[in-house]
Amino acid sequence: MNNDSINLKVGQCAATTYSVPVGPVHPALKEPIRFTFNLDGERIVGVDIKPGFAHRGIEYMGMRRNLIQALYLSERICGICSISHPLAFTQAVENAAGIEVPPRAQYIRTIIGELERVHSHLLWAGVGAHELGFDTLLHLTWNVREKSMDLLEELTGNRVDYAIPIFSGVRRDVPAEKAHLAYEALDYYKGLLQQMIDAFLHDKSVEMRTRNVGALSYDLAVDLCAVGPTARASGVKKDVRQDMPYLAYADMEVKAITPEDFGTEPHGDVYDNIIVRLLEVKQSIEIIEFCLENLPSGELMSIPKVPALLATLKKASGEGLGRHEAPRGEVIHYVRLEEGIEEPAVWKVKAPTYSNLMAWVPKFLGDEIADVPIIAASIDPCMCCMDRVHMVDTVGNETTRMKEELVRLSREKTRRICG
């Protein structure tokens, strides 16, 4: 029903419009993707989205390496969610091989995962401010973000690519003598949070540029299967940490954050996206605090020796699904292991941006060309996470496959895999 209404809007004005390409290289975009906008004056009446410029074939590479080498690759799917992908991947493999993870390791994974959410959301807020032409807010926000990067470096040794999760546990401990650094950083953020909320949500010029811009209704968010903050900004109470608790989240009550927590009706617009992400920073700080206080003692890995781990994984067979609420939404890794081979027989990654891609269309329609950068940024897209396929023939011509053909192809593939 909703798809029809969108198509109708595009068709109505097609005769009088002109089209403006945005991307694959454009200052509004941090990663390559191509939008072709049909404009009626400054108003957007149609949009065509073409992803596929950052496809690197990581799944294919992973299926030709042993699982521990593939873990390194999973960490490099995305530079910002560099813990989310390994978290989902390790859970998928552990589910497939039936490996237990010690409680302390689960808590440490949670701490690093939530720290990543803090820095990712602040990064997004800064990018959003820049897209609005508000560079002051960008510089101040990124300055604040550095504290979480420093803490991550202190705890893991790296600013990005933390190399913390490994099958059966974590590779490094959060020692007691470093806990005070974490508390210090958390206090720093608690003190600054109200200032951030004032700077973003109580600023007239930010409100003018974001209220009722890129709105996504509750129904459309559900129909288009939006995930993460994009869905929650529309009032959909959807959060993997709440719906299917995993890791340390099972020990606490995580509630999906919607604009209602800020005391406003959800519109699903950019303003609501800011609300949700800023409040989630607060939520993450609380989760990290809980984890630090209740950090269980015990071992870090249930199979501490890597050769033994590899041998266990080689013997394992079965399939597993790993889900994690990444900063951008639900990330899913599917893995199938076969006995006797070290490589994953199948590795499938579904990044949150893939689920949010279709939400862009109703968000763009009816808004102005001036809103393009902030709406594009509002779902916090990550093209390199998402790009799964790019079809070219031997001479380099691109082809596009439509839905029916893709359904047919995937059914064929399923039959082939299932034998």
Binding site: E131, L132, F134, T136, E368, A370, D371
Partner: protein, 331 residues
């Protein structure tokens, strides 16, 4: 006769070079101070000079779809117009070089020329981003020209009513007879309102945040300037720098033409030096509050929001200012 002409030519060259230099210094200050306010280190003060030198040696690319002669001509037109403006605006407390040959109305028209040149250059570039930017620039001009005109004309009208017989639209006469001393309380409020209107028009005239809508880097990739490079870009860059000095000097001449030399009792050459320094400080203060602070404190507006802002509140403020000045004269 030829000696006077030669003298004028020399003065003209000094004004052009000095005005450009000043504009570049203010541009450097603008970038440095804005950076400091944003928690950055910022570029060195000399950066605008480096930028121009670099642009001058860079390749001057003309897009395939561009109307080449129009595209190449417009940066020149823009630079020539702001250069001419330097001869009509009182700089450093001195009378403008061409005083008596043109007045405030001419300044108003000359101020519009760089914008029109950018619009034509944008359309001539043949790129969709430049076209969108050019359309936006046209709309912006329609939005801010009205309050600007009301402000300047009200001041001239008041002077004509207060001092019959003088050449009221001459900037040197306006600068010599500051209105603050002539008006009553109603007129004082009116003048304040007109001053506010001019301060808000200034960033729009200079296309700075929140009114850099025609250039909007993140939206339309530099808009009007998207296709410009090399020498052409350098000319627009210089024109922008000079326009900043012109707008600052115009505000100073209309509202703060006072000098310090009389107050301190210093006459002669030292008096002039003190006045020039005081003038530079005044222009800086105007630029600081009208451009630097504003561009740090706000997000970019959308074109519809900017037009609404100028047509309703700002035009309202300037009309109210005009009304109060009129009442002050009549009552």
């Amino acid at each position: 006769m030829s000696a006077t002409l030669l003298n004028a030519v020399w003065q003209g060259i000094i004004i052009l070079v000095g005005g450009t230099f000043l504009g570049m210094v203010y541009k450097g200050l603008d970038r440095k101070l804005a950076a400091q306010m944003q928690g950055r280190i910022g570029p060195p003060l000399r950066q605008p000079f480096f930028d121009v030198v670099k642009l001058m040696v860079k390749e001057n690319i003309v897009p395939d779809h561009a109307v080449a002669w129009l595209y190449n001509l417009m940066p020149l037109v823009s630079l020539a117009a702001v250069g001419t403006l330097l001869f009509y605006v009182p700089l450093g407390g001195f009378e403008p070089l061409l005083h008596g040959y043109g007045d405030l109305i001419l300044v108003l028209y000359l101020l519009a020329v760089p914008s029109i040149a950018m619009v034509l250059g944008g359309f001539a570039a043949g790129s969709p981003f430049a076209s969108v930017g050019a359309q936006r620039e046209l709309v912006m001009m329609m939005a801010y020209e009205f309050p600007l005109a009301i402000t300047l004309l009200s001041l001239g009208w008041y002077l004509s009513a207060a001092m019959p017989g003088v050449h009221v639209f001459s900037l040197s006469v306006l600068a010599a007879n500051p209105l603050w001393g002539l008006v009553g309380p109603l007129g004082f409020i009116g003048l304040l309102l007109l001053f506010c209107a001019l301060m808000i028009v200034t960033p729009a005239e200079l296309a700075k945040i929140p009114f850099d809508i025609p250039e909007a880097e993140t939206e339309i990739a530099g808009g009007i300037l998207a296709e410009y490079s090399g020498r052409n870009m350098a000319m627009f860059y210089l024109a922008d720098a000079i326009k900043m000095v012109v707008m600052g000097s115009l505000t100073v001449a209309l509202f703060f033409p006072y000098g310090l030399s009389g107050l301190l009792g210093v006459a002669g050459a030292w008096g002039s030096v003190i006045d020039v320094i005081f003038y530079l400080v005044k222009v800086f203060v105007v630029i600081f509050f009208a451009v630097i602070v504003v561009r740090v404190a706000f997000a970019r507006l959308k074109i519809g929001q900017a037009v609404r802002l100028f047509w309703l509140p700002i035009t309202g403020i300037s009309l109210l200012g005009m009304l109060l000045l009129t009442l002050d004269r009549i009552v």
